[in-house]
């Protein structure tokens, strides 16, 4: 056992920069301490270990942020990130929600990752990522602090995403000047990508327009064990066992991984043929063990006639987009920027 572990550790050290390796290994080991075999989760220790940052109404590198309680009943918080305009370096408390000024301002509703159980909107890694998205896309980013598993199972995360979507859509100060509508994109990584898909689904019959979905290493799965899962199990930070644990924690008790939340184009899934679904940008890391499911998702969208662009980053592992120290990061950020600006 120890020997094959050595092999595993050596392999993943060769494909990521050292600081990325340290960061993701740290998460991996910490998370091992938090998942209990009986399916419960050490939430106190998780919150203690998670590195968080407060919102900052003073712009840092051209971006400021503030937190808003968008649903008191569920204590649903979101962190809003906005770019500063050239003329006003310092905003006071009244101007946080001042109307967006440009003809078109994309509003990206972001769902952080963490396999439905970890992280928060105010986790340092996601605060940093959202700030980058603001600068990159000249967008407002709304990062949703959705309820997590195992304390809150399906469909809580989707409900919260839906609440956030409705809230964003109804903010007058987020409307683009050109057409007095809010230009909404849904984005997320890992479980956040999964949430983005399902919230877009819910939006379909509602009359709320979602202009695009950005899914970074989205978390999907299924009952079957795919080739990539078998080949890459334990090799690049992630194991099948932990993936199984998180699905058991999120899905309703007794359900298996062919549940539509996990496997949207599986036996219990819904066909999107003929449906007006937003265009999608799906990023798949070539060293992610669940890539077969992610690729199947892309195929599912294509077969239903939906517009989808796949970015397959061969040598990328999970979490590559957390630190800007690799080529995959820059490629993906460029594509995201193009994806969002193509509506201007």
């Amino acid at each position: 056992m120890a020997r094959s572990n050595e092999v595993n550790l050596n392999e993943c050290k060769m494909v990521v920069p050292l600081n990325t390796w340290v960061l993701i290994s740290n998460f991996k080991l910490a998370y091992n301490l938090l998942r209990r075999p009986d399916g419960t989760f050490n939430r106190h220790l998780a919150e203690f270990l998670d590195r968080k940052v407060p919102a900052n109404a003073n712009p840092v590198d051209g971006v400021f942020s503030f937190d808003v309680l968008i649903d008191r009943g569920t204590s649903l918080l979101s962190r809003i990130y906005r770019p500063t305009t050239a003329e006003e370096p310092q905003l006071n408390i009244a101007e946080l929600e001042k109307p967006v000024m440009a003809a078109v301002v994309p509003v990206i509703i972001f769902f952080h990752g963490g396999s439905f159980a970890h992280s928060s909107a105010n986790s340092a890694i996601y605060d940093t990522l959202c700030r980058r998205l603001v600068s990159l896309c000249k967008a407002v980013v709304v990062s949703v602090n959705y309820r997590r598993a195992p304390e809150n199972r399906y469909p809580c995360a989707y409900d919260d995403g839906w609440t956030a979507l409705k809230w964003v859509n109804s903010r007058p100060w987020l409307q683009s000047q050109k057409d007095s509508k809010v230009h909404i994109y849904l984005a997320g990584d890992s479980s956040g990508g999964n949430i983005a898909h399902h919230v877009a689904l819910r939006a379909i019959e509602s009359g709320i327009d979602v202009l695009g979905n950005i899914l970074l290493n989205p978390m999907f799965g299924g009952q079957e064990r795919t080739e990539s899962e078998k080949r890459l199990d334990g090799k690049y930070f992630v194991t099948l066992r932990d993936r199984d644990w998180y699905w058991r924690a999120y899905l309703p008790e007794g359900e298996d991984r062919d549940h539509l939340a996990c496997n949207p184009f599986g036996p219990n899934g819904r066909s999107l043929e003929g449906i007006k679904f937003p265009k999608s940008l799906v990023v798949v890391a070539g060293l992610d063990l669940i890539q077969d499911w992610q690729l199947a998702y892309v195929e599912g969208l294509k077969k239903a006639g939906q517009e989808v662009k796949l970015l397959y980053m061969e040598q990328a592992t999970i979490g590559f987009y957390l630190l800007p120290n690799n080529n995959h990061f820059h490629t993906v950020m460029d594509e995201i920027s193009k994806f969002v600006s193509s509506d201007c």
């Binding site: 407060p54 109404a57 937190d67 009943g73």
Partner: protein
């Protein structure tokens, strides 16, 4: 097992930023990189690792993973019993976990081999068990102490957030304008602003949200403009009144309870193994903090120490010796749980009037200095002499305390510029009032609001020696205390867990505890409002490390 992670960061005094929202620190990465070759990207993720140590940390992580895989039993113990400290310091966190694996397996008997000295020691079995005990007692005693159970979360509360009210926004605009005028010295314009705002107030909901807190700020500005900056009636409240208001603030929201139980946990741990202990409380009030500690000490393994408590408080004008009365009540409690106890009251109207000889510290006792929202009062400087804070910190250090527990408002209300201070206070107190909405029990809530209102009035309408509410954020206290010869004693995951659990017992949803570089903060949603930390004097003499 080491009870404290007493690793310091050498020259680095800034933690992961818990700064208030309107202060402007330089970007975290930049500042720390210049100081210490810290990896900037990991800093952005909340971890401090020296670039030169990355490889070493990586190796340790590998070893840790191998150890975790090879001994799942240890892994589950690591997951449940181990106390974690200061996760931002990744290197020491990994090392502390690794050290859990290299310990010899626990033997059924009480005697195990100390790996360092190769001698049999008795203590380990107890030290691993101990952290659980105070938690239980803290729970019990707080249930006994709590006079009201004020936790009804009103889910029907349809408080509209500030920004959704147009008049609310206008009100804030006008408050800022008025404050600006005051800063500029344009009092006539400020006065007309005030009149406009009074008018607007009548059209805004002043029962909750921005209307309520705006009203208090308008009052405070009024005072400043019309009554001057000498404090007057704000600071003139009697000690008795202040105690009542403080008590209601204690009941209405969890900030003071958090302060007390976090400090008590740290003090309990610091006193472990000591038989003569002396707590110096910088602001006794009704002594609400101490029953829990007395009970926890009563039940500690090996029996309670001899406990002395010195309570500092203002003199009572009416001839009553209120300090002594509190002392007597605490003594009764101590007697009922068989803790040998002695109390002494020190009456002083200002903390800076206290001289160390008044505390009569015995060189053989272990001292804990407990300061709940008192140190900031010493930050006003008199040009003629040393700033009182320096004097006081210096004599605290001379007492060589085992621990100094410090709780302070997590806010930047001591900035010299009035407008900056005003803006910061508006943010801070809006959040605090928001959190108070979760409390629906009267009269606690109304009186707690008056308590907070007095703070607001002091921050906004006073200057010079009258302005005592000179709150500074954790980052500034770290610098100040490190500079004064103290080093941090980190609060760990056990204290964190206890705080979180007690919060769910006592408070509505929305309060959150966070770990910040070895300190704990309590806030409303994601905004920290109060910060608790523990310190020990750095000794000048030969190495004097804690157990």
């Amino acid at each position: 097992m080491v009870l404290y992670d007493s690793a310091t960061l050498g020259g680095s005094c800034s933690g992961s930023s818990s700064s208030s929202s309107s202060s402007k620190p330089p970007p975290l990465q930049q500042r720390q990189q210049t100081q210490q070759d810290i990896d900037g990207l990991l800093a952005g993720a909340g971890y401090r690792v020296r670039s030169s140590e990355l490889r070493k940390v990586a190796q340790r992580l590998e070893r840790l993973e191998t150890a975790m895989v090879n001994s799942p039993a240890d892994l589950s113990q690591l997951a449940s019993d181990t106390i974690h400290y200061n996760p931002s310091d990744l290197a020491s966190w990994v090392d502390s976990l690794l050290s859990e694996f290299t310990q010899p397996p626990t033997c059924p008997s009480e005697f195990i081999m100390d790996p360092e000295t190769n001698q049999t020691v008795v203590s380990d079995a107890w030290t691993t068990a101990e952290p659980h005990m105070p938690q239980v007692h803290q729970n019990i005693s707080y249930q006994q102490q709590s006079l009201n159970n004020q936790l009804t979360v009103d889910n029907q509360l349809t408080v509209v957030t500030a920004m959704e009210e147009d008049s609310g926004i206008r009100l804030v605009h006008m408050l800022m304008t008025c404050a600006e005028c005051v800063q500029r010295g344009d009092f006539s314009l400020a006065t007309s602003c005030l009149e406009d705002m009074q008018g607007l107030l009548t059209r805004v909901n002043t029962v909750c949200g921005i209307g309520k807190v705006a009203g208090h700020f308008i009052d405070a500005l009024s005072r400043r403009i019309f009554q001057g900056i000498g404090g007057g009636s704000i600071n003139g409240g009697s000690a008795y009144e202040n105690e009542i208001l403080y008590h209601h603030f204690y009941e209405a929201c969890p900030y003071l309870k958090f302060a007390h139980f976090t400090a008590n946990q740290a003090i309990l741990e610091a006193f472990d193994g000591h038989d003569c202990v002396h707590v110096v409380d910088f602001n006794l009030m009704h002594g609400l903090q101490w029953p829990a500690l007395i009970q926890a000490l009563a039940l500690r393994p090996g029996g309670p120490p001899l406990l002395r408590l010195t309570g500092i408080g203002p003199p009572s004008p009416d001839g009553r010796d209120s300090l002594r009365e509190i002392g007597l009540r605490l003594a009764e409690l101590a007697r009922s749980v068989n803790v040998r106890f002695a109390f002494r009251g020190v009456a002083a109207s200002r903390l800076e009037d206290v001289k160390p000889w008044m505390l009569q510290v015995n060189p053989k006792e272990s001292v804990a200095v407990n300061s709940i929202m008192q140190l900031h009062r010493l930050l006003g400087s008199d040009l003629n002499r040393n700033s009182p804070i320096e004097t006081v910190l210096s004599w605290i250090r001379s007492l060589n305390p085992k621990i100094m527990t410090v709780v302070e408002q997590e806010a930047n209300h001591n900035q010299p510029g009035f407008l900056d201070r005003f803006t910061e206070a508006l943010h801070y107190y809006s959040t605090m009032f928001d959190s108070l909405e979760a409390c629906t029990v009267q009269p606690n809530k109304a009186l707690a609001e008056i308590y907070i209102q007095r703070e607001i009035a002091n921050v906004v309408s006073c200057e010079g020696s009258a302005r005592v509410e000179r709150h500074e954020p954790l980052s500034k206290w770290r610098t100040r205390l490190s500079g004064a010869g103290f080093r941090p004693l980190h609060l760990g995951s056990n204290a964190y867990k206890q705080a979180s659990m007690l919060l769910t017992l006592f408070s509505a949803e929305g309060y959150s505890v966070e770990e910040n570089d070895g300190c704990l903060t309590l806030g409303w949603h994601s905004r920290p409002l109060i910060a608790a930390s523990a310190w020990q004097a750095v000794s000048d003499g030969p190495a004097d490390f804690p157990a």
